[in-house]
């Protein structure tokens, strides 16, 4: 196996395990998650909607990454989702919404907002690395086919 493939597998591995960890720990302490979401600066209806949608989207993206034909799309969506989360964290850090708790699950909930920001930035970097490798592989494959 090439080093490029190993790095790509590592990217998918980290995303799948992180999303499943986050989703399962949210669902396991669902009551806590509901309270955390109620304290976010969203309307009640939107907050309730997100309470279900966030863990489900995390599980869906993780599962999509396990299937070869969907994993590239899932990588794009996951990186976009992480960028959205990070944008929200930056707004929280800037006290745009006042003081609010993190609505994350498991050990991630123990991180401060700054640590959480760094954690998300790391995953955005992993996402971009994965996208770059996927695109390069696609280009190589195309040029290989043309050469044939």
């Amino acid at each position: 196996m090439k080093a490029r493939d190993m790095v790509l597998h590592a990217c998918y591995f980290l995303f799948i395990s992180m999303f499943l960890y986050a989703a399962v720990s949210k669902l396991m302490t669902f009551q806590v998650f509901v309270v955390q979401m109620q304290r976010q600066p969203f309307s009640d209806a939107y907050g309730q909607f997100l309470t279900w949608v966030i863990p489900l989207v995390e599980i869906l993206l993780a599962l999509m990454m396990t299937v070869n034909s969907f994993r590239k799309l899932a990588l794009y969506l996951s990186t976009s989702l992480m960028i959205c989360f990070t944008g929200y964290i930056i707004l929280v850090q800037l006290r745009f919404y006042g003081k609010i708790p993190c609505s994350c699950g498991g050990a991630i909930a123990k991180l401060s907002w700054t640590e959480h920001l760094l954690f998300n930035l790391l995953f955005i970097a992993i996402g971009f690395a994965g996208i770059y490798i996927e695109q390069r592989a696609e280009l190589l494959e195309k040029s290989f086919k043309l050469a044939k």
Binding site: M1, D5, H9, Y12, F13, L14, F15, I16, S17, M18, F19, L20, Y21, A22, A23, V24, S25, M28, T29, Q31, V32, V35, Q36, R39, A62, M65, T66, N68, P101, C102, C104, G105, G106, A107, A109, K110, S112
Partner: protein, 85 residues
């Protein structure tokens, strides 16, 4: 190649779900060794009686705020928001 991809995916699913199940919502393993205390809120109202810190923590949603304080020791407290009023 496909087999390796599947193997990685399977390992990732196991790691994610396994670590979440293993670490979430459970009192720490040494809960039995923790001292049992009464816990009060910021209005000095008694909230929990005779429970260890790991259990008291479960009544608070994660946040940096002080949530519950031990009645007998000002240096012992949990962080977060009270889940139940």
């Amino acid at each position: 190649m496909k087999k390796i991809t599947l193997l990685f995916a399977f390992a990732a699913v196991l790691t994610g779900v396994g670590s979440a199940v293993a670490t979430t919502g459970k009192p720490s393993a040494d809960a039995s060794a923790e001292p049992y205390r009464n816990w009060i809120n910021w209005n000095d109202e008694l909230v929990l009686v005779n429970v260890p810190k790991s259990i008291a923590e479960q009544h608070c949603a994660p946040s940096i705020e002080v949530c519950l304080r031990a009645q007998d020791n000002v240096y012992v407290y949990t962080t977060g928001y009270m889940l139940y009023k």
